[in-house]
Amino acid sequence: GQQVQQSPSSLVLQEGENAELQCNFSSTATQLQWFYQSPGGSLVSLLSNPSGTKHTGRLTSTTVTKERRSSLHISSSQTTDSGTYLCAIERNMGYKLTFGTGTSLLVDP
């Protein structure tokens, strides 16, 4: 079965609203990364958060390792936040990342 599951698969917000993205994983993760992918573009790392809570700008990630879940909170969304948010875990070291299928976010003005 799929090792990394993300929800929701898509989300539409009005500018200024907050977003909560979820990532659940079925195997022990030694590392957890959140990425942003612009439409038709490449991936950019947002946060590395294997456990606990981390903040950067308007982004907050909380990972509960023993429950195998992570969340990404985007506050005061902007139209430029539109794109796909990907969660990825690293299993058993070895530097191999397994990706979820992503949450597609659309922020309307």
Binding site: Q31, L43, V44, S48, Y95, T101
Partner: protein, 114 residues
């Protein structure tokens, strides 16, 4: 400037032709990756390279091979391409041992096999 460069950006090939995708990085990263991205499937790891001539299969290596003769350069080769290899291919690199460092991705190569 830290960058992963992929060439070409777009490629159209006929079934049965050989395909060479190239990737370079200027950070002397030890680890490099090839992923493919398909709708509904996300990114899937094809191969990982831990250094020159130290390559390991990922989750979907069948139909692909790789070459890494210099640390800064990692090639993906499709011998006799198939239509189901139409996809977007991403190369990435990272430094081993860097705590929590995420891979740096290239812009992708969009391959169509007709």
């Amino acid at each position: 400037d830290m960058k992963v460069t992929q060439m070409p950006r777009y490629l159209i090939k006929r079934m049965g032709e050989n395909v060479l995708l190239e990737c370079g990085q200027d950070m002397s990263h030890e680890t490099m990756y090839w992923y493919r991205q398909d709708p509904g499937l996300g990114l899937q790891l094809i191969y990982i390279s831990y250094d020159v001539d130290s390559n390991s299969e990922g989750d979907i290596p069948k139909g692909y091979r790789v070459s890494r003769k210099k640390r800064e350069h990692f090639s993906l080769i499709l011998d006799s391409a198939k239509t189901n290899q139409t996809s977007v291919y991403f190369c990435a690199s990272s430094q081993q041992g860097e705590n929590n460092q995420a891979p740096l991705f290239g812009e992708g190569t969009r391959l169509s096999v007709l």
